[in-house]
Amino acid sequence: MALRRINQQGIVLGIFAVMFVAFTAFLPGFFTTANMLTLLQNVSVLGILGLAMAIVVIGRGIDISLIAVLAVPPGLVLQMVQDGSSLPVALSVALLLSLAFGLFNGWLIAYAEVPALFTTLASGLFLAGFGQAALFKLDVVQWSPGLQGFEWLGQGQLLGIPMPIIVFALACGLVAFLLRSTRPGAYIYAIGDNPNTARVTGVPTRPIIVLQFVLAALIGCFAGLVMAASVNSMPTRIFNSTMIYDVILVVVLGGIGLSGGRGGVLNVVIGTLLIGTMLNGMTIMDVSYSGQNLVKGVVLLVAVIADSFLNPRNEETAQQGDI
C-alpha cells in the first residue's frame, strides 16, 4: 500500500517534470523569473481552494459549493464597502456568512445524512443565486476607495515574492498542521478510512464532518478575498465557470484518493504545480478556452480512472451517496 501511494505521487511528479522540461525547451518565455512568478500567482487561489477540497475529500466527502463561497462572501465585502460600510464590518459579515454556510452544509450532510455531492451542489447553486439576485448590483462587483490598502493581499510583495504565493504557503502550513498534528486532523483521516469504525471507536463523527465543511467554507472565502484583491474586483459569474473541475483536478491528480483517508497537503501542492504548469503552458501556446477545457477534461478523466484503480473504494464500507 505504502509503495503504491509513493508510486502515484511519483508518477504525477514525473509528469510534472517532463512537462516542465518540455515547456522550458520548446516554449520561449516559459522559464523566466517573471513567468514563473505569474504561474505561481495564478495558481495560488486554485491551490488554496484545493486545500479546502482536500480536507473534505480526505474525510470521504466532496464540496461542490466552493466556488459559490469563493464568489459571494468576498463579493459582499466589495459591495458593502462600495455602499459605505467600513472594511472590518464588511469582512466580519462575510466571515459570518461563510461560517453559516459551512454549518448549514455540514449539518445537512452529518445530521440529515444527505449525500455531500447533492447537498453542496444544491447549496452552492442557492448561495450563488442569492448573491446575484439579492446582494450584488452588477455581475462584476467593482473596487471602491474604501478598500484602500486591502489590495496588498493580492498585489503586494514580501521580499520580492508576490503575496498570493506567500498566502498559499501559509495556508498549506496551517492545513498541514491541522491534518497531521491535531486531534481533529486524526479524526478526519479516521472518518475517511472507515466511518463505521470511527463511529464505533467513539470518534464524534458528526461534529467532525460539520467542522470539515465549515473549514472548507472559510478557506474558500479566504481564497475569494485573495482573488478579489489581486484583480481589484469580484467577477461573481465565476460560479458559472468550470473552476470547480480545476479544483477537483488538483486534488485527484495530486493523489488524494476520492475514496477518502489518503493523501495530504503535499499532494495538493503537487497537483497545483502540475495544473499551474499545464494551464500556463497552454496560455503561452495560445490554446483557445474550449481547447483548454478539452485538455482539462481528458486529464481529469484519466486522473479519476487512475484513482479508482490505485485507491479502490472498500466495498464493505462504501455507502450509497459516497463519491
Binding site: M1, R183, A186, Y187, R199, T201, G202, P204, R206
Partner: protein, 498 residues
C-alpha cells in the same frame, strides 16, 4: 433411473481455506420434504446455496436426476429445475406481483395487461390469494413468500429450497405455509427447508438431516426422530481433546450490577428484553440467528444506527442512559467489540499504533489536542506486547495482518480505552486456533480485573468454556439463565430452540 432427484457426494466448500461444508453426502428423494437442521455455522446455508448455484463446490460432485452437474449461477440452477426462496426477499419491492413473477422473461414488447391476466390465471391455478396488480413492497411477509414460491413453480422447479421459511410468519400464516408445501409435494416437487424450529421439522418433513461443524451427522425418516435425538445430534461433540475440553470447576461471583436492560423493544428484532450484567464475571449470551442478541447490545452501546427506540430502559450503574451514538457510551466506559471487524472494527490503511492511538484519543480527548508521536508509538508497542500481535512493526498496516491479529488490534483499540463494560460480539469468528486461545485468556483476564465482560457467541463450546453465567436468548429476549457450572450443551440448546 435413480430415485434421488438431487444428490451430493463428498461435497466440500472452503472459504479461504476454512471449510463451510466438509465432505457432506446428501440425497433428496423425488417428492419428499426434507428438513436441514443444525447450529449457526453448521453449514446448512452453504449446502443449500451450493444446490441453488449461489456458491460452487470446492470439491465433490452434485447430481441432478443422476447426471453430474455443476451450476455456477442461480440461473443455471434454475434451468436444472432448482429454485431457492431466500431468507431475504429477492423480489423487487416497487414492482407489482405479476411483474415480479415474469421478471427476466418479459417479451420485448411487455404488455402489462397480458402479464396481469397470465399471472391471475397462474396464481389461481395454485390457489394463491394474491392480487397480481398489487405492489410487492406493500404485501405482508407471507404473501411475499407466496410470490416467491409461485415464481419458483412458474420456472418449473423440481426442487424448491427454503431458507428459514417460517421465521417471519405469524402462526396462522405458518399453517397456511405448511398446507402450501404439502400441496407442492403432491405436485411432485421436492422440498428442502432449513429450520431452527424443531417442531416444524418434525411435523412437516418426511426426512431430516442434521449437520454439525460443517459435517453431515445423520439423515433419517422424521418419524424416527424426536426432539431429544435431534438436539443430541446437533450438539453431541467430543471435545475432550480440544481447547474447549476443560470444564469450568468454579465460577466467579457476581460483582456490582453494572448494566441493566429492562423491557427493551426494537421492532422486529428485540421484544421486551430484560437482563443484567455484573462486574467481575463473564456473561455468555447464546442464541440462534434472529434471537436479537447483537441488536440488544448494540442499542446499549449506542452503536445501532437509526435506533428507533420503541421503549424500555437501559441503566448503567443505576443511572438511566440512552445513547444515540457510540461516542458518549465509549466515554461512559462501554466498549462494543464488533462481530464484523472489516465493516466497523479497524482502520485498514492505518498502522496498528495509529488504530490504538485513535481509540485513546476518542476516549480521553482532554489534553490531547496536539498529537503525540511518542505516545502513539509507546501505546502501540505496549498493546502489541500485551495482546501478542504478531507483526513486523507498529507501523504495519492492519489490512496486511491475518484475521486473528486483526481481531487483536480491534480488541486493543477498545482496551486502550480502559472500559468497565466490554461487549465481545463473536470474538473468535474467522480467527485461527492459536489466536483463539490467546483471546480466551485475555477475556478471562479482563473479568479477573473486575470488568463486566459480555461474550455473545453462536458457538456453544465457546460459551461453555468462558462463561460464569449464561443467558439464552430466543426470538428477541432472554428466556433462560444458567450458571456456568451446571450448564450443558443440551440444556442450552433446548432453551434456544423452540
Amino acid at each position: 433411473m435413480t430415485d434421488n432427484v438431487l444428490e451430493f457426494r463428498k461435497a466440500t466448500k472452503l472459504y479461504s481455506g476454512v471449510p463451510a461444508i466438509d465432505g457432506v453426502d446428501f440425497q433428496l428423494r423425488r417428492g419428499e420434504i426434507h428438513a436441514l437442521v443444525g447450529e449457526n455455522g453448521a453449514g446448512k446455508s452453504t449446502l443449500t446455496k451450493a444446490m441453488a448455484g449461489v456458491v460452487t463446490l470446492t470439491s465433490g460432485t452434485m447430481l441432478v436426476d443422476g447426471k453430474e452437474v455443476a451450476p455456477k449461477t442461480p440461473l443455471e440452477a434454475r434451468h436444472l429445475g432448482i429454485g431457492m426462496v431466500f431468507q431475504e426477499n429477492s423480489l423487487v419491492p416497487t414492482m407489482t406481483v405479476a411483474q415480479n413473477l415474469f421478471l427476466g422473461q418479459e417479451k420485448f414488447y411487455n404488455r402489462l395487461r397480458g402479464i396481469y391476466i397470465a399471472a391471475q390465471q397462474f396464481l389461481q391455478s395454485l390457489n394463491f390469494d394474491v392480487t397480481p396488480t398489487a405492489t410487492v413492497g406493500l404485501l405482508g411477509a407471507a404473501q411475499k413468500q407466496m410470490v416467491e414460491i409461485a415464481r419458483a413453480v412458474l420456472h418449473q422447479a423440481k426442487v424448491i429450497i427454503f431458507d428459514e421459511p417460517t421465521a417471519t410468519l405469524t402462526p396462522e400464516e405458518k399453517k397456511y405455509f405448511f398446507d402450501l408445501v404439502r400441496d407442492l409435494k403432491k405436485r411432485g416437487v421436492s422440498i428442502v427447508f432449513i429450520s431452527h424450529a424443531l417442531e416444524e421439522a418434525l411435523i412437516l418433513a418426511d426426512r431430516i438431516t442434521v449437520l454439525r461443524d460443517s459435517k453431515h451427522v445423520v439423515t433419517d425418516d422424521a418419524c424416527n426422530f424426536d426432539r431429544d435425538r435431534i438436539v443430541q445430534a446437533m450438539v453431541g461433540r467430543d471435545l475432550s481433546n480440544t481447547l474447549y475440553g476443560k470444564r469450568k470447576t468454579a465460577v466467579r461471583p457476581a460483582g456490582e450490577r453494572v448494566l441493566t436492560i429492562q423491557n427493551l423493544k426494537l421492532a422486529p428484532m428485540v421484544k421486551n428484553n430484560s437482563l443484567s450484567i455484573f462486574a467481575g464475571q463473564i456473561t455468555g449470551i447464546f442464541g440462534l440467528v434472529g434471537a436479537g442478541r447483537t441488536e440488544t447490545f448494540k442499542i446499549a452501546a449506542g452503536v445501532l444506527k437509526r435506533d428507533f427506540f420503541h421503549g424500555g430502559e437501559i441503566l448503567l450503574r443505576g443511572e438511566p442512559v440512552r445513547y444515540r451514538v457510540p461516542a458518549p457510551a465509549v466515554k461512559a466506559g462501554i466498549a462494543y467489540i464488533t462481530e464484523d471487524r472489516k465493516v466497523e472494527g479497524f482502520f485498514e490503511t492505518m498502522s496498528i499504533a495509529r488504530n490504538v492511538y485513535l481509540g485513546i484519543l476518542a476516549k480521553f480527548p482532554g489534553g490531547r489536542f496536539l498529537l503525540s508521536r511518542k505516545e502513539a508509538q509507546t501505546s502501540g508497542e505496549h498493546w502489541i506486547k500485551q495482546l501478542n500481535v504478531r507483526t513486523i512493526s507498529t507501523h504495519a498496516k492492519v489490512v496486511e495482518l491475518s484475521g486473528g491479529n486483526q481481531q487483536k488490534v480491534v480488541i486493543a483499540k477498545s482496551l486502550a480505552q480502559d472500559p468497565s463494560v466490554v461487549i465481545f460480539d463473536e470474538p473468535t469468528r474467522g480467527v485461527d486456533v492459536g489466536a483463539i486461545v490467546e483471546i480466551h485468556d485475555l477475556i478471562n483476564r479482563l473479568a479477573e480485573e473486575g470488568r463486566a465482560v459480555v461474550v455473545i457467541s453462536s458457538y456453544l463450546p465457546e460459551i461453555l468454556a468462558l462463561s460464569d453465567r449464561i443467558l439464552v436468548s430466543r426470538q428477541g429476549k432472554v428466556v433462560e439463565e444458567f450458571s456456568g457450572l451446571d450448564a450443558t450443551e443440551e440444556k442450552i440448546m433446548y432453551a434456544a430452540i423452540h
